[in-house]
């Protein structure tokens, strides 16, 4: 593990931050690397391009496998967006995803930090217990959650949709691992400086794991944005549906309108894309070591 002395060297800003104008690759290795990654990237998104192409097709063309629609149309988008309910669904999903993300980031990192930096009896058990919650598929928890919600009057409310997702074992585990990279000496030094534990966590440790926090935010947002089974069960009124639930009503037992599903999927990707673009910068910025005080 790193010691304080090793980290006294304050690296140059531009090496660290890697911001500033992106320059074209400089040597053969870089060029090849770039080309391969680019080709890989194109392969990665081919299915998505196909999805978008389907969303631009009329129903009779959906089953043609052509990549470029013979008769492109934005009719599907108009249909979906004109549906007044769509905006309720979008708003609901947005509010729920934002709140759960904030809550999860805070609590998961708090718990992860505690499990990592504190020695106390029962520490391992708590960690394993929380980790074990990943091992029960949510499908089995849905029924007890429903009965609980019904008892407390949480059915068809934002709280009812949100409560299972407010803290995640995934996030806790992730943050615990990343807090391992924060040197204990930093923490000790802050204690000596007279900061209390809460302050240490918030002002010293958290900034050092910003890339992980950004990653966590992206994943929690995504997870809650796309959640389906639980919101389906706990909501009753159409105005309370989240986006995935609402979009699923474009199909019924006999038939699924794939072009509408693709359209819905395309539209749903946009907010997650935005969240990703915002937060990924923090992953890139990396960690700026401020050096030690005193």
């Amino acid at each position: 593990m790193a010691t304080a002395e090793d980290l006294q060297v304050k690296p140059k800003a531009d090496v660290l931050l890697q911001t500033g104008p992106s320059r074209p690759p400089r040597n053969m290795g870089q060029i090849i690397r770039f080309l391969l990654l680019f080709a890989g990237g194109i392969l990665m998104v081919m299915p998505i391009a196909f999805m978008i192409s389907t969303s631009l097709k009329w129903p009779h063309e959906v089953y043609n496998l052509n990549f470029i629609p013979d008769e492109p149309t934005i009719e599907n988008y108009i249909y979906v967006l004109e549906d007044g309910r769509f905006y309720w669904w979008f708003l609901n999903s947005l509010i729920i995803a934002v709140i759960t993300t904030i809550c999860s980031v805070i609590f998961d990192s708090l718990v992860g930090y505690t499990l990592c930096k504190f020695r106390f009896p029962g520490r391992y058990i708590v960690f394993i217990a929380i980790l074990s919650t990943l091992m029960i598929p949510t499908e089995m928890l849905v029924i007890p959650w429903y009965l609980m919600s019904q008892q407390f009057g949480w059915l068809d409310t934002y709280w009812g949709i949100m409560f299972p997702g407010l803290m995640t074992a995934f996030g806790t585990f992730l943050m615990k691992q990343f807090f391992e990279t924060v040197p204990d000496d930093f923490i000790e030094a802050a204690r000596i400086d007279g900061l209390n534990e809460l302050q240490i966590w918030w002002t010293v440790a958290m900034p050092l794991v910003r890339p992980a926090l950004a990653a966590l935010a992206i994943f929690v947002f995504l997870g809650n944005w796309t959640a389906f089974i639980w919101p389906l069960i706990v909501t009753n009124s159409v105005e309370m549906y989240t986006l995935p639930v609402g979009l699923s009503s474009f199909g019924d037992e006999a038939d699924v309108a794939w072009e509408l599903i693709m359209t819905g999927a395309a539209i749903s990707t946009i907010p997650t894309l935005i969240v990703f673009l915002i937060f990924q910068r923090f992953i890139i910025r990396g960690v700026v070591m401020a050096g030690l005080k005193g």
């Binding site: 029924i143 069960i233 009753n236």
Partner: protein
Amino acid sequence: MKINGLRALALASATSVAALAGSAANAVEIEYWQYFFDARVAAMEQLIENFQAANPDITVTMTHFPYADYRTKVAAAIPAGEGPDVVQLFYGWLNDYVQAELIQPLPADVFPAATIDEEFFPMVQAMKEGDQYWALPTAVRSLALFYNERLMEEAGVEPPTTLDELLAAAAAMTKRDGAGNITQVGMTAGMTAQDHHWWREGLVRQMGGEPYTDDYQTVNYNTDAGLKALEFYTDMFMGENPVTAVGFMDEPQAAFKAGLAGMHIDGSFRIGSLADIRGLKWGVTELPATADGVRSNYSSYWVNAITTKAEGEKYDAAVKFMDYVSSDEAMQIWLDVVGELPAKPSVGMTEENANDPVFGPFIRGLEYAHTTKFADESGQRQLMVEMVERMQLEGMSAADSIAIAAEAEQKLLDEYYGE
């Protein structure tokens, strides 16, 4: 928490667990649940409007959910006391709901069994236990043979009326490319779609057998008739000159919608989505008969029933509502708006309806349709899928495969009815 008119209304009717709601002078409110589908919701809204106009002292609130997991949703809500007064359920779930005491039998004075037996198509009798009816459908579905008009013209064949004609037409409409791969199927095939119904209640019976006995508690297709039916079916894609391929275009209806299948057996619920497809000229004809003119069809339906939650005033209101949604008027509206077939011959077999080019073949099919009482429809369907897969992927003989399927299905049924 959002509060709006609809939600407040739904809350109000849902939280009144005991039926002793307010003074008798106020309107009685009952709640109705069904799954969400544009046309069905529209039709039900119309029915509710008519009903409320005729019964000003009753208000009906409808709540609906996306189809996915509708059953889980209802199953989770009712034991929690959140249920409706009148509920829509798939006929196949009747047994479960009766056993769990979620619904009550329809009162014999308003719904006398003998009259219903006469007035409704025969397969509705599956909703009778003993001498009481537990639920009634507003609309039913059956199977028919869809065909692509253009492909038929091209191949110079007519819509088939017998099974032999079916095979001939399919052969004429099958196209291959240079390497022998099928690029157009004469007929779609796939037990994952409606074919397993066609096989059970159609082919097996047409070959002289009876797929089940003892009120669908005993498997009976491991017989000569069953074997003949299976061989007829699998020969279509496994024989020397296949006229179809399982998994062509992923799903049978996809192939038909894409105009790459000459014929396709499907239910009346497919009509709506086919209408949307420009450039697809399709027609419908009755399921083919045997050379001797034997016909058989499969019918399924969603039914309405009164829940055990409805008591006192609400119960009376619920009975009236049930009566209305099972009436001729309601059925005609449903046919017009949703495109689902009426459950009564009096509505179905009118000149206009019985001879309608699209609905006619389906309606006529109702007269000789049977309804399978499933214990677990998807489970039993899966066994059919596997029966064919064993033959295709493992080279098993039809006789062996059908024996295995029969055994597995009997086991499933025994477990279910043993409770």
